[in-house]
Assembly symmetry: C2
Homo-oligomer: 168 residues x 2
DNA sequence: CCGAATTTTCAAAATTTATTGAAAATATAT
DNA sequence: ATATATTTTCAATAAATTTTGAAAATTCGG
């Protein structure tokens, strides 16, 4: 397979993959493109390569910056802004985990805390199943939260090494 | 908080949560409702409780069955079908992981295998970054795949125990 | 086999989400 | 300060996804 074709495949699959994870296609594609670009790109480079509008490009780049996956680069003597993505995949994964934990897991745990305090008699089957279910989710969620905290701080070698030990 | 209100909250949050994970709102809500229902429910029960149409209910129940999260229950002497969800959250999580691994991670790894064989000289910066990026993702993906395999087979007590050991 | 109950399908409608592109805002060189 | 390049915003539009509901198919008791 030629490089040009392989790049196309990679970008479109990364985009499709993203949509299964609540990330919009364009954002994932821009990320993919930056991942496989040896040098920083401008907005115009990205627009041209992916055939998307200026507005769309701009918004999704900013969103990637919010996620901590892309950063602005100022090239001396250049007026335009350039963008580049973190290439170390382990760092990328940790960053995504960190953000999703903050945006989704933590608010969910807060809600569950409140819901567990529902008033009513546990001898009522409906109360019992509700409290038990919420409690069960909370317990697992808290464990996941702790585990992810450690993962976020870990080095890949340490982490993978430990997983191998744990599982063999 | 009263039970009725708490149930509403739980169902709607579970739905919103689902949409961040590529699962449609209704499917997640039906799942939530079944999780907190002590007894199996019929399609009509679900339609009424969530105010959704018959077709929508039917399609999403079937999808939940495909995911292995809900099952049909036949109550003797009843003509209607009843549905119930697995209540053990650890089993639920394992089932979701198992499905997503099969549907998403494995196809992605297959693609990466092919993409890594791109032809071209690695002294070309574009070839090099492409091969390195794809290789890096593949390596981490394979590790995740193995780890998830073990997790899917694990008991919660064993798994949590090991994580605690690992991280403390 | 008939008829009623129940489930499933799917084209059309509604809703949600993503994208465009031009105008406004901002930044920079001279 | 002005002109020009560049970035950002956002209302309008387009596209994708979800939902409806009625018709078709299926199931099952008698």
């Amino acid at each position: 397979m030629k490089l040009t074709e392989a790049r196309q495949h990679f970008i479109s699959s990364w985009g499709a993959f993203g949509t299964h994870w609540g990330i919009n296609r364009t954002m994932a594609q821009i990320h993919a493109l930056l991942l496989i670009s040896p040098d920083p790109l401008t907005q115009d480079d990205i627009m041209e390569e992916l055939n998307i509008s200026r507005g769309n490009t701009n918004m999704n780049i900013r969103e990637l910056i919010n996620w901590g996956l892309v950063e602005r680069v100022l090239l001396s003597g250049e007026r335009k802004e350039y963008f580049t993505a973190e290439k170390d995949i382990w760092k990328v994964v940790k960053q995504i985990v960190k953000e999703r934990k903050k945006r989704e897991l933590e608010p969910m745990l807060q809600l569950l805390d409140k819901l567990e305090e529902v008033e009513g008699d546990k001898r009522d089957r409906h109360v019992k199943i509700f409290v038990d279910t919420v409690g069960g989710i909370k317990k697992l969620g808290k464990q996941a939260d702790k585990t992810l905290d450690v993962m976020i701080r870990a080095e890949e070698t340490w982490f993978v090494g430990n997983l191998l030990k744990m599982f063999k």
